[in-house]
Symmetry: C2
Subunit: 410 residues, 2 copies
């Protein structure tokens, strides 16, 4: 493999693809169905670790605990995750439960408490059933494997209203060594710019210091997970965590390393893949919507405009109905609070131009209908001002979104 | 009637209740159905006028024309409105059409062009069928009356996806004279903080200078129309216009007048009534949701938090499903970008307290279900910090919202 922006996708790859990682999942009883609800990723060495968290003022108890673990040495041996209960807004007891969950799993696999991170997703405001959690933690070490089935079990254990698991792995060459990056994510509701009941787990066997991994993860998050929205809500529990075992044996990665760009491109691919998978699996979604904005005064303006379009309930409903209602797109552009020249905007749905220099262009409605019926819809907006650009992802707004969210808790 | 914050509601009152105003409406053919789509309010004298407009960068042609009319002398004789077509993003031709519509109606009722305002609502990006508009304008003067039926015809002519007309009138005593304020509004989709395909018309026979009316209208809009949201979108066509004939004969109203507070309270009541009517009639809505925030660091913070809650698709879906999912409410509070103490928040649904000092309170789920099934749901949030407070209105998110917006244009 030549150096540069090159990497291969590993078929059926996931968080156990990189060297040093095992994973597993099981049903301990937090979900009412018999689906998996407790899982873990374990690294055989102390992995360099990095994480980004929800920006919500109300941060769930597991986030507090994970922050504390990560602050200890910047390295982790494991992350334990439950679904079915977010352990958020649960007061002092919830905090104690998150610590107990962490410490119990640390003991079960024989590592220090501070070497374990905790993540939770599910209903807010109810206490965790700790007897079920403890029972699950007893069985979990016996389930940990590096094979595909174990990775699959983990991916299932982190889902809530998701319909499909979201996993990926890539491989690239750094310093003559095969470096792998794997990822798994969950999320389908409460997904918005700043990561909302989204859990993401990235593993790699690359050799990289925690501080470099942290900076890179933050940068990559801004063009991947932070560019998706399902409904504009931001959860109390979002977390993206990256673990690097270093077992690939490459020279330590930093901005000075000649393969930094390649590694960044590969990690970006993994995170964008997972982010798009979350958007496509948005609650009730029937299609992925990609919004490409160019010609904005800068990238930040383009990001804000792209997110406003992708977040518009009217645009999302129109896409669901395969209605080429570009008026709603331009209305969203106009309320994004960014510099826009009202006379120079182009809009296209796929290849079908509907607006040029802010004037309507006659187009074939039948052709547009056919395009909008597809499973991926690309909306392109060119402001024709400067060179700012951005891409955002989301989904359509459907009857099923309403159905799912009208009765989530009950 | 004693002076102070006192006024009476006029039964079946509307824009023709105040002295000096006639109105009317008819079907000219802009809508595919046979519902009214062209209407006007006419004042027998040059009324003091004021208006507030959409904040969208893309402002529809009629807004440009109305701004120009209003800038001429601050006084208007009439406003002509069509539904079925927004005349937005229609380029030079659309602008010419808006002027032609204004000028044709000015000629038909024998006033100067600059004494007429124009408003449009409906589909974006299609040219007005001007032959139908002209034919309607010819008939419209013959329909203008001060009676209830004519006011009803006008109210019908401004509707799009609205299910019910929205009208109100009040009466109060100023300087020993009976002063009346009437109002009509339309709007059910694209409604958000800064007025979105919302058209509002307020008439009064109060004697007041245009500049005082303008300042007051802006102030009142901020606690009424700007505090409602249906779906977070902001139209290109919003307009709230107020006309004051002065025929009540009171001394000219200004902040120095002893009845200024009474007049303001009455106008606020009219605008809040219309705003709530719009929220309740939100596209697909089954109930009105009122969010009361108190204890914020200031009123602006309270407004932002109230609007974030009322705008949350997850909160709206839960209300539709009568699910007491207060976790989504606190998640919305936490992402509003305002100062919040995460340990001191109280939340109640009606009288049912679900969170106190940020800790869950056990409540009767059956009782909550019964309450949430009602046609009005009040969500109260107390941040227990300072004295900032605000009230916002919205509606639930339903299957019908999706149905209506998936196929609006077709």
């Amino acid at each position: 493999m030549a150096d540069g922006q090159q990497f291969n996708i590993v078929t059926e790859g996931s968080v156990t693809t990189p060297q040093g990682f095992t994973a597993g999942g099981l049903h301990c009883g937090l979900k009412k169905t018999d689906r998996h609800d407790l899982g873990a990723i374990v690294c055989e060495v102390a992995a360099a670790a990095a994480a980004v968290y929800t920006t919500n003022v109300f941060q769930a108890a597991p986030i507090k605990v994970t922050r504390e673990s990560l602050a200890s040495s910047g390295r982790l041996r494991a992350v334990i995750v439950n679904s079915g209960n977010a352990n958020a807004c649960t007061g002092k007891q919830g905090e104690e439960d998150a610590y107990s969950m962490r410490n119990a799993f640390a003991e079960a696999i024989g590592v220090a408490n501070e070497e374990v991170a905790v993540a939770s997703t599910g209903v807010i405001g109810e206490l965790l059933k700790m007897d079920k959690v403890y029972a699950g933690i007893k069985q979990l070490p016996g389930k940990l494997q590096a094979d595909d089935q174990a990775a699959e079990d983990f991916s299932q254990a982190i889902l809530t209203t998701d319909l499909v698991k979201k996993t990926i792995a890539v491989e690239l060459n750094i310093d003559g060594k095969a470096v792998k990056i794997g990822g798994a994510a969950k999320g389908s509701g409460m997904i918005h710019p700043n990561m909302a009941t989204m859990l993401g787990f990235v593993t790699t066997d690359a050799n990289i210091e925690p501080s470099s991994l942290q900076n890179l993860l933050r940068e990559v998050t801004n063009v991947s997970f932070n560019m998706i929205t399902v409904d504009g809500d931001t959860s109390t529990n979002d977390m993206l965590i990256a673990l690097a075992s270093g077992l690939a044996g490459n020279d330590s990665l930093s901005e000075a390393h000649p393969s930094w760009g390649s590694f960044k491109a590969a990690l970006t691919f993994v995170c964008v893949h997972l982010a798009k998978a979350i958007a496509r699996d948005g609650e009730g979604a029937t299609k992925l919507v990609e919004v490409r904005v160019q010609g904005a005064v800068n990238d930040e303006a383009a990001q804000a405009i792209a997110k406003t379009i992708i977040g518009s309930s009217l645009v999302k409903s129109a896409v669901f109905g395969a209605d080429a209602n570009w008026g709603r797109i331009i209305a969203a552009v106009g309320r994004a609070g960014q510099p826009v020249n009202p006379d120079t905007v182009d809009i296209a749905l796929g290849d079908i131009v509907t607006l040029r220099q802010s004037s309507p262009v006659a187009f074939d409605e039948e052709q547009a209908l056919e395009y909008l019926k597809g499973d991926t819809v690309i909306i392109s907006v060119n402001l024709n001002m400067e060179n700012g650009k951005a891409i955002a992802w989301g989904c359509d707004l459907t009857y099923d979104y309403v159905r799912i969210n009208a009765a989530y808790r009950t």
